[in-house]
Symmetry: D2
Subunit: 351 residues, 4 copies
Amino acid sequence: MPKIPVGILGATGAVGQRFLSLLAEHPWFEVTDLLASSRSAGQRYGDAVQWILDTPLPAPLADLPVKLSEPGQARARILFSALPSGEARQQEPAFAADGHYIFSNASAYRMAADVPLVITEVNTGHLDILPVQQAQRGWEGFIVCNANCTTTHLVGALHPLHLAFGLEKVFVATLQAASGAGYPGVPSLDLIDNIVPHDYGEEHKVETEPRKIMGRLQQNAFVDADFVVSAHCHRVPVIDGHFEAVSVGLRTSATTEDLIEAFRSYRQAPQIMGLPSAPDPAVVYVEGMFRPQPRLDRMAGAGMATVVGRVRPCNLLDWRFSLLGHNTIRGAAGGSILNAEWMVEGGRVGG
Amino acid sequence: MPKIPVGILGATGAVGQRFLSLLAEHPWFEVTDLLASSRSAGQRYGDAVQWILDTPLPAPLADLPVKLSEPGQARARILFSALPSGEARQQEPAFAADGHYIFSNASAYRMAADVPLVITEVNTGHLDILPVQQAQRGWEGFIVCNANCTTTHLVGALHPLHLAFGLEKVFVATLQAASGAGYPGVPSLDLIDNIVPHDYGEEHKVETEPRKIMGRLQQNAFVDADFVVSAHCHRVPVIDGHFEAVSVGLRTSATTEDLIEAFRSYRQAPQIMGLPSAPDPAVVYVEGMFRPQPRLDRMAGAGMATVVGRVRPCNLLDWRFSLLGHNTIRGAAGGSILNAEWMVEGGRVGG
Amino acid sequence: MPKIPVGILGATGAVGQRFLSLLAEHPWFEVTDLLASSRSAGQRYGDAVQWILDTPLPAPLADLPVKLSEPGQARARILFSALPSGEARQQEPAFAADGHYIFSNASAYRMAADVPLVITEVNTGHLDILPVQQAQRGWEGFIVCNANCTTTHLVGALHPLHLAFGLEKVFVATLQAASGAGYPGVPSLDLIDNIVPHDYGEEHKVETEPRKIMGRLQQNAFVDADFVVSAHCHRVPVIDGHFEAVSVGLRTSATTEDLIEAFRSYRQAPQIMGLPSAPDPAVVYVEGMFRPQPRLDRMAGAGMATVVGRVRPCNLLDWRFSLLGHNTIRGAAGGSILNAEWMVEGGRVGG
Amino acid sequence: MPKIPVGILGATGAVGQRFLSLLAEHPWFEVTDLLASSRSAGQRYGDAVQWILDTPLPAPLADLPVKLSEPGQARARILFSALPSGEARQQEPAFAADGHYIFSNASAYRMAADVPLVITEVNTGHLDILPVQQAQRGWEGFIVCNANCTTTHLVGALHPLHLAFGLEKVFVATLQAASGAGYPGVPSLDLIDNIVPHDYGEEHKVETEPRKIMGRLQQNAFVDADFVVSAHCHRVPVIDGHFEAVSVGLRTSATTEDLIEAFRSYRQAPQIMGLPSAPDPAVVYVEGMFRPQPRLDRMAGAGMATVVGRVRPCNLLDWRFSLLGHNTIRGAAGGSILNAEWMVEGGRVGG
């Protein structure tokens, strides 16, 4: 079967590079279109990009030309968007109007009333909004968003608990990796012998996105899930891997063993369908009070799993635990790709 | 007036070095006794120590001899203890029995029923237990403890709120500096491109010590303060300065401005008495959502102040804020020294 | 063909873990014996080890029992030694006397007059000393050493130049990774916001080992190569990957292009024979004045290649360049394994 | 005596902040003019600057207005320039033409034939070129440059040797701190778990500036000193403090003790005159093979001294040693200020 052509918007940035890296040997997709701003357009990708990943730039893709990021430039219908939020706000609708299927990592439309914010294990049902989106906006294509990197792994750990026990309250304090800010991103003078509190906008995303994702679609409207999140966000001197300390209040009583079992037995459609990028298991539970750690655990499930550990009682809510996940693989490019795989497998989109 | 001789137990370790550094030019105290294990005893201090502070080893003290850590070896009545917990458990009582006044940074006796756990701004009233301690244990001397480094700054920020509004609930997530583990302490392989969750014992200290400190002494027994703490503790790649993200539930309603005013107007006995090591103000409130930061704020008040910022509402409890403090100055050696200054000024101890 | 059983001495340490990781899916070798001190002996490997690599502990090997490190305990004839130098000095001769083939990463016998110090691409001819070693010492087995991690990659870059132009003088300044010191190794207080000069012993190794390795075996004696090395060694806050800044004086004149061509065309027996662990190419030449970098280049050739860049003229000697290589893969465990592969392929050792 | 008014060009950048910090309590100088680009001009300094030093922004200076960086805007005759090289090339001549005395940290005019490149301990004699500079360019004012941060400390250590033994050859490999690149400067993704080779321009500065500085002024022309330098430059994850590994060939024979004595007895005009910012001693010699280290030694002499250690023989040249110095204090702002102090003390410039 011929591979499905796909393109990348914002192909030279940090997340764009991660898309390229994950798609280079993808069994279903073939990267045909690399789009970027006029600064890079017209150059060979290998010349235009300052490659910052610790895996090599895939040789065949280095020779692709960078095209200007405009509708009409892309041959592929499926486009993965690694655009910064401001540019996404302008460009993604233009490409969707032009018939492209946009799988976007940008925050611009995540909370829009007709845009599904999807974590493949959790809420592919929200994709049923797409005909409404297309009708309302007059688009032939569509926009599907994946969540903020911190939200993605938080939901990755909360969803098994929500299914099993019902969530009521969530405290989360994050220790986020530098790569979450892209490149050049955070100056080294800020992250040597230092940590930096995050801006309040990040905390707002982490407090609102999980409620949309774990909420339901009802009469073509998203209804937030009925739990409350309070987030404290911080940047730490780590390359990749967001760590999150979580306390949760649940609606039903449980034991430590019940929680661990909920994590261990969590298995959703992507795992059952065996999608190419699906981690299996989706949640990796690690033993010991010193795990998870970013350097040791971020590549669990090829960077697509959420690693959970340290389940213990909480003095204020019911339970405490820690989680960790790769922020630019599952938390960004990989999350988009898994969404696209699900839609391809379900026959919702094709080449 | 001649200076009061003081000694240091565990003088060659990381906290011992900090005691030495802070006492080197102290207006009231003169370091006369440096005690350490048999590994160092008999050597010149400058030869025995592997100095790790970024300020130089005070030259006159480098020539002092290191004596074996045994009662009878110390000339000074006042001894500051930088001993590891296990050794503190053995040695501090022996020195107290021998008539020494022990100001201890060790955790060994912090929670003992007849040992005051004192932060000078907060609960010098707890020192009234000392006659009971001496009578029960048959000691001529005594042990006064200061709190864990994380607890010290947490209480430093909570006490103004407790006085003004009454505390009910506290959620705290910490990002603690490497120096808190002493030297050699945490391996570099654990803190380059990584963070490490703390052991559960640290979390237990942070959950229990504040309640004793902010509690009351009633009929010769400590009664814990009536609030609950839930702590998540982590080690991060920072040399000095513990950062803590806090949410609090208060007993009376307040505005953001009320909280900031409570921090800014906080002024206790050490500030009023002008004790040599007292920071003034004790709490420094910083503006802006990116502060405090360890590298920029840890030396506030010469490392003796607690820096607070980012006061904002919390979705779950009432308020969120961030705090930062130097863990080996105010959080260890400096806290002990301030306690000793208070007792000297009040005439409770002399040379 | 059944796999050849191999064992690991010092299996629980940092280098021991790397041996285990590299041998877990080796096409020729099967790990049958894990030996360690009495602290670990008797336990399941997975329980005895504190795993510090960022790749997971290979599941089947986690269940192997750890045996006491004594002759008679190991079933395999081939033993890879990850012992610290002091223990290697005691134990390796005992195992060799007992008939084992020791491929040692320890420094204990590297400079011994009858022990070959081998980098597979460079001097397998030195293995001809082994009958002498066995005869003189009365051993049935033998000891073959690989070089210090810094030496290995320095020679990896110097050998192509030596072959092509003749080496006369070498100046090298190193920026070495923390993992070179094992675990716990260097304290984090020494490597956050800091670098540490290395001890002089390391510099001596880097100045002497290359001359033995690139020297010749003549009448059963090693004759050092006729060039001089001056080394400045430093530890930097990097997990893996030694960086070295090199100036060389050559015996024949050359151009920048000649040097780059010498690196690019370098191809030795391990590459020609296609040994399983041989990198191909052995030297990777990178363009651009900002490369190589540890985080981006250390995994070149699966961590087995030496990466060279920045060839430019030198004001004092002839040429300057920079090199980088993985210190615990090619620079330690991987170097030993490649030596063993060469001897197996050549029929010199079997199961 | 009233203080002499001084101004700062490029006042909001990293080096500008250091100037401000060092001048805030200067006994002779009073900061009256803060100049910056149109982005900051018109604002209160405290509002315009993103303060990045670990000492607080001096309160009185925070209230000064930022003025546009144009001749006519500055009241003070003495201006310290913290401008980036490109802007310095444009602006410094304009200010000098307008009668200002420019003490510049920028590289733009360091190598100009009529601009003195001065390290106060070494070559204040070069200031005799100033009348030539003024005559040729028709300036009432002048430009005096201080050296590159790496050069400054290299010369700080080489000059005592040059005086005592005569320099012939110098190898230097540098491990430079992040603050040398200003703010935002080097991205954290480049300096976590990584080091980065420096661009070749930096190496060229380190190879040429020392020869001008230690050369002589003869018939109104600078004659380079007669030694050769080869430099390898690298950026490492350190906030402040450049470390340099040096090998030297000398013109006369010496012993280790001779070299150490040359460092220890080095005492020049700034020390003898007791200039306010002069370190005394100018060179601090530290014992032990693990020193100097950036975190422990950079504040020697309040950041104005050069710290030397590890003197030992070299296999290629005569001697090896290591040096360290604060790059933004002595290596930038402090070097300029010391030059100005010398000229004021000598009556060459006044208010």
